[in-house]
Point group: C2
Chain length 128, copies 2
DNA sequence: TAACTGAGTTACTAAAGGGTAACCTAACTA
DNA sequence: TAGTTAGGTTACCCTTTAGTAACTCAGTTA
């Protein structure tokens, strides 16, 4: 598990340690849409491997941004959800997405959007 | 130079390609405080090496987030500033910082903040 | 009896990212 | 004459991050 430093010179560095890397922001984004099971996340993000998915979810859980609930059944059922604190990042993620969309439009980059601003706007009152 | 893909499934992925990594968000943050020269940035972020600083600034420039202005003098003077589009990210960066500060407080992580929300609030009207 | 299920783990390998130290230019200073 | 300045470049190496393939478990279906 990636250990955080005991001291940071800038909050930005802490945020990078918490949600940096190729997958974490994406995972938080999709979990903010609703709770998801392990293989559900695999289907939502087909490019991620099982190893990376487990590893990144475990780190997010270790840092208190994601909650992992295991149902003692066979075959097992494990549900991932964002914690209250993880959810507080949603407006930031939404801002990032909007900015990314603007950039894509400006530069003519094609976007097969896996999100719609609409989804966010409908739940905005719960978050802000 | 890191090349962008011609197509993205999610804006988040594009954003990660644009500002991911160890230094870019930090550089944008400091450039949003005001234009800075090369060695000024080195002093502001003492941990960054010359190589990394050049490389990351060049990528930000290549993607249109940062502007590089060379004054033909000896010794040379080079000033970096954020572009209008780069500046549009500031509310997002500010949100990240706030969230990071909250996390640090919650977890008892020490923060020798290199930023104050105050700086941002004073200029907010220009940005939002 | 064999194959399948969901949710992983493990060992190994490949690629990306980042760091170190030496070097460059032209003009100025000691 | 040597050293300093600002703003870099280059070659090399090491570490971190990510990917591949095989394996696990206990129960259920064909």
């Amino acid at each position: 598990m990636k250990e955080l430093q005991s001291e940071y010179q800038c909050a930005i560095n802490l945020v990078i340690d918490l949600i940096g890397g190729k997958w974490k922001v994406l995972l938080l984004w999709h979990l903010n849409e609703g709770d998801k099971r392990f293989n559900e996340l695999r289907r939502t993000i087909p490019e991620i491997t099982k190893k990376m998915l487990t590893q990144q979810l475990r780190e997010l859980e270790g840092h208190g941004l994601v909650k992992r609930t295991v149902f003692e059944e066979v075959p097992p059922r494990v549900v991932y959800s964002t914690t209250d604190f993880g959810r507080k990042l949603q407006p930031v993620l939404y801002g990032m997405c909007q900015w990314g969309d603007d950039y894509a439009e400006k530069e003519g980059i094609q976007m097969n959007s896996c999100w719609t601003g609409q989804d966010f706007m409908e739940n905005k009152s719960d978050l802000l």
